[in-house]
């Protein structure tokens, strides 16, 4: 096996490239002149049944990758004892924190950012995949299907919107006939309900689907959540149950003795955990390596998504795609998703990149996605775009989730390599990690369920979604719900204050945005940004120019211009 890999490396990367077996994995080393060659080498090596591919082939001339991280140090967590330390505040880390909060144990979740759901968990389309795509027998298939089922209960307990719309995939005839038996077989193996539709049936579900199709399939269990609101909901419920959230906390070093983690050094001091859960997303391979358990590599895969104005949202009811017969197209997969708020999302793309936090977007990709997906829904066009964004999938070369106890480090558990369908799988992943953690932790202490665990969380009011009567009554109780701050999304001052008062301490513009959607509408915060900043500044009792866009040093304002003498010019919010 190794011989074949070596031949491949010599031929495709160069003489310097070598492979070596490391524990149960294969380690690739050397230097290559293009990123795509490095990815291809990793993919090739993944075919031979090793536990993992550790791809250390470096890119010629590549300067160090940027990591957004806190720019200060303090002693907040110095010599901090905790039963469980979760590294990573994405939906995986937060859902694990919530599930573990039902036990009589101390839990600390750390994240290098100023809030949860800062990276991939807020940078995806929120789809609750039905589970048809993953290969039968993979962890992805198992956790996706189970997670999809669990979302019903979770969305109710956490009071978040789940739209179980189903998804429709349309085909021209040729394609459908080739693929139909294969799809049916896979759906049965994975346990996913599937319906085959003729053209009229497709048009019943999606009346504006382009009419040059002949039929399609429908996956009735597909659904949509707001991925950032779901992550926040998990985190808030965890916090209410005693989980401590350490934001702006960056894991720098993991110290082990005899195959056991004894401390994790951060910019805020040395944490002393009994068990560590690696939920670090695109950095999960680095955390694993820090702990002395190197067995996989993350290769960041970017996805760009365009958001269309809500007012064109009524041309789509659920999730729609029309696969491309051209497998060499550079925007593989993706489709159209109607968010719970009513916008249509177009995308995502899939691009292998060397950077783990490169959220840049480019015109060519955005436009090519629009032209690709308007074949499924003619009514969309590029003038309907209000904004676009990108997220990074934490893909490993095995292209499967890593949900297991470490083979080499006694008190380390991995929830790693979680990429799409990560949101869909989260409730099932956390269910499994809960079991594993209890097993591991039981070696150190007795783990018992709490007498009182609060499994319900209630969202703060969303006046826009209430009836006129209920909305009126709400405003009578608190007039702030009647003061509209974000005019595009119709968000009131009351909702912003609720977000600031929520169980997680937040203070930047994007954190408020993730909870309330201020600035997410068609003017993209042009009108509400200064108003939200004023509310934050008042609430925190800190100067306006200390407010940041997204934590760290992302300050929105510069110096003061001058002092006002009259208060007449002070705009009241």
């Amino acid at each position: 096996m190794k011989r074949k890999i070596d031949i491949y490396l010599k031929k495709n990367i160069g003489k310097s490239a070598t492979s070596s077996e490391y524990r149960k994995s294969i380690l690739l080393e050397g230097e290559a002149d293009s990123w795509s060659k490095i990815i291809s080498a990793g993919k090739y090596a993944a075919k031979f049944g090793y536990k993992g591919v550790i791809n250390k082939i470096s890119l010629k001339g590549f300067s160090e990758d940027y990591i957004s991280k806190p720019d200060f140090t303090d002693g907040k967590f110095n010599n901090y004892n905790t039963d469980v330390l979760i590294i990573g505040g994405g939906i995986i880390g937060c859902s694990i924190a919530r599930e573990l909060s039902k036990y009589n144990i101390n839990i600390l979740l750390i994240d290098k950012e100023s809030d949860v759901a800062y990276h991939t968990s807020s940078r995806n389309d929120g789809m609750i995949h039905p589970g048809l795509v993953p290969k039968p027998g993979t962890k992805k298939a198992v956790y996706n299907v189970r997670g999809n089922y669990l979302w019903e209960k979770i969305s109710e307990e956490l009071d978040i919107e789940l739209h179980r719309t189903g998804s429709v995939i349309t085909y021209d005839k040729k394609f459908l006939n080739i693929i139909k038996p294969f799809l049916k077989m896979r759906a049965d193996k994975n346990g996913v309900p599937i319906e085959f539709l003729n053209k009229d049936e497709v048009l019943k579900y999606e009346p504006f689907s382009s009419d040059d199709i002949v039929g399609g399939i429908r996956l009735p269990t597909a659904g949509i959540v707001s991925p950032y609101k779901a992550t926040v909901a998990y985190a808030e419920n965890a916090a209410v149950n005693g989980v401590v959230f350490g934001f702006n906390t960056f894991a720098e070093k993991i110290n082990t003795v005899n195959g056991e983690i004894i401390s994790v050094e951060t910019n805020r001091g040395k944490i002393l955990p009994k068990t560590v859960i690696n939920a670090a997303g695109v950095y999960s391979d680095i955390i694993a390596q820090m702990a002395g358990d190197m067995f996989f590599s993350i290769h960041p895969r970017k996805g760009q998504i365009a958001i269309l104005d809500k007012k064109y949202g009524n041309s789509l009811y659920s999730i729609l795609s029309r696969p491309n017969l051209n497998f060499h197209s550079d925007t593989k997969g993706g489709g159209l998703v109607k968010t719970v708020e009513g916008n249509i999302l177009v995308g995502p793309s899939a691009e292998e990149i060397p950077y783990r936090e490169d959220y840049s977007t480019d015109y060519k990709t955005i436009i090519s996605m629009i032209s690709k997906h308007e074949k499924a829904l003619n009514r969309i066009n590029k003038n309907q775009i209000i904004t676009y964004f990108s997220g990074i999938r934490a893909a490993n070369y095995e292209e499967d989730f890593i949900i297991e106890k470490s083979d080499y480090i006694k008190n380390l558990i991995h929830a790693a390599g979680i990429q799409s369908p990560g949101i869909a799988s989260a409730p099932a992943v956390s269910e499994e990690i809960e079991k594993l953690t209890v097993e591991v932790l039981s070696v150190y202490k007795e783990v018992k369920r709490k007498d009182k665990w609060i499994n319900r969380r209630f969202s703060s009011p969303q006046p826009l979604k209430l009836s006129i009567k209920d909305r009126g009554n709400l405003i009578l109780k608190n007039p702030d719900y009647g003061k509209i701050i974000c005019r595009c999304e119709e968000i009131s001052r009351g909702e912003i204050i609720d977000a600031l008062k929520s169980p997680l301490e937040i203070s930047d513009l994007d954190s408020v945005k993730r909870r309330t959607r201020t600035g997410m509408g068609r003017c993209q915060g042009g009108f509400c940004t200064p108003l939200v900043m004023q509310i934050i500044s008042e609430f925190k009792n800190e100067p306006l120019n200390s407010v940041t866009k997204k934590g760290h040093t992302s300050f929105i304002l510069g110096e003061k211009t001058k002092e006002f003498t009259g208060d007449d010019l002070n705009e009241k919010v």
Binding site: D362, G472, I484, C523, N545, G558, K572
Partner: protein
């Protein structure tokens, strides 16, 4: 449910003028979503407002104050901090649902004047890509930061777009001590008024680079630099002309979009050229009678004086509105024009004159605007030495000239011809 004859939506310069003229003949309610009246004028502390209307150069707040004083003397109900969440058409009236801190109220009215202004095009709408740091603002937001909040948006600023607010902000930021590294404009001609190019850029030695746009943003936490690139006539980037400009702030003045989400809720048809409703000379929607529109919600004006003028027209006609059948004469414009407001003429109105607001697409020298009736007879012509897209032309023409024609044609011809 309270009843009114006219509800004016928006308390900026258009809405204030509309409410004043409407209140002469009708019971009028003015609804404003912000705390104070005056609209965007509140933050426009530069001068140049009111030259036509008041014969003097006023600052934005001064201009607004004049109107606010006029409003005080009239019988107008005003609610501020109030946001319209819904509007519905009934048989003969409209119901308007309003939310504010005292709850939800509903009003019934015979006619509505939409004076909702406009919003700014965003970075994403002009396809600026790259990273997503703090430090990218539309010119209006930067103006709010500077003039209302009293904070500079940053130190080293690059301005994309030569729209008027961008030019004004270039001067304003320079005066406050920021370093404006340049104004970049993708078109080959500036988008703002000539007087602003001179008074805001040239007087302060701020470079203006035409046929150049910002293609990328660099910076993780805060903007660190932008990439500029020259573009050809078709707005395609010219490879090899990329330059990196260090800056901590990118300010965008890349166009305004009339805010017509309320109009859309009512199914009002809008002109893709103006992005405002199709209206007749009373500024009433052509397909939803009883709805009037004025100011920047109707089309983006260059001078506030014209905004107030259209408000006055809309308010007056809204007050006199009776649901009778109209016979509309279509105005057809030739390709040289960007748009013309109104798009239709209703001959059966009280006014003696019709006011046309018209813009050309490109700079033209020595031209003549020609208006013809259905019999191809020239009913009006006017010569211009120069016409520029940023400068709107206003024509006041006797209505009698448009009698007995089912359409009129407006075209642009060479100014040398003797007619």
């Amino acid at each position: 449910m309270k009843k009114y004859d006219v509800i004016v939506v928006g308390g900026g310069p258009a809405g204030l003028a509309a409410a004043i003229s409407s209140s002469e003949n009708a019971k009028t309610l003015l609804i404003e979503r912000e705390h104070r009246l005056g609209g965007i004028l509140k933050q426009c502390i530069h001068d140049g407002f009111g030259i036509i209307k008041f014969g003097e150069k006023l600052s934005g707040p001064e201009y607004a104050e004049k109107y606010k004083d006029m409003v005080k003397g009239k019988n107008i109900d005003i609610i501020t901090d109030s946001f319209i969440t819904d509007i519905k058409k009934n048989d003969k009236t409209f119901s308007v649902t309003v939310v504010n801190s005292s709850g939800i109220s509903q009003y019934e009215t015979y006619s509505v004047v939409l004076a909702t202004g406009c919003r700014e095009r965003t970075a994403k709408q002009v396809f600026i890509n790259g990273e997503r740091p703090a430090g990218i603002y539309t010119a209006g937001t930067a103006q709010y930061f500077t003039n209302i909040l009293g904070y500079l948006p940053g130190k080293d600023c690059v301005i994309l777009g030569s729209g008027d607010i961008g030019l004004i902000m270039a001067r304003r930021l320079t005066l406050e001590g920021a370093n404006v590294k340049g104004v970049f404009e993708a078109k080959s001609e500036p988008s703002g008024l000539m007087r602003n190019i001179v008074q805001c850029l040239e007087d302060y030695d701020i470079p203006l680079e035409l046929s150049t746009t910002v293609s990328r943003v660099f910076g993780k936490e805060r903007v660190e630099a932008v990439e500029t690139v020259r573009v050809d006539k078709n707005m395609n980037y010219i490879p090899g002309t990329e330059k990196v400009v260090k800056a901590d702030t990118l300010i965008l003045s890349v166009g305004l979009i009339p805010e017509n989400e309320i109009a859309e809720k009512l199914g009002i048809s809008t002109d893709i050229k103006t992005k405002g409703p199709f209206v007749d000379n009373s500024l009433m929607s052509v397909n939803v009678p009883g709805i009037f529109c004025c100011g920047n919600a109707l089309h983006v004006n260059d001078l506030v004086d014209y905004v107030s003028e259209s408000g006055e027209t809309a308010g007056k006609n809204a007050a006199l509105y009776k649901n009778t059948n109209r016979k509309l004469t279509k105005i057809i414009i030739s390709d040289e024009f960007m748009y013309c407001v109104p798009q239709y003429i209703n001959y059966e109105t009280d006014e003696k004159n019709i006011i046309f607001y018209i813009r050309v697409k490109n700079n033209c020298n020595n031209v003549r605007i020609i208006i013809k009736n259905e019999r191809d007879e020239i009913v009006y012509s006017r010569k211009y030495i120069i016409m520029r897209p940023p400068e709107m032309e206003r024509l006041v023409i006797n209505k009698e000239l448009f009698k007995n024609t089912s359409f009129i044609n407006i075209s642009l011809e060479n100014g040398d011809d003797n007619i």
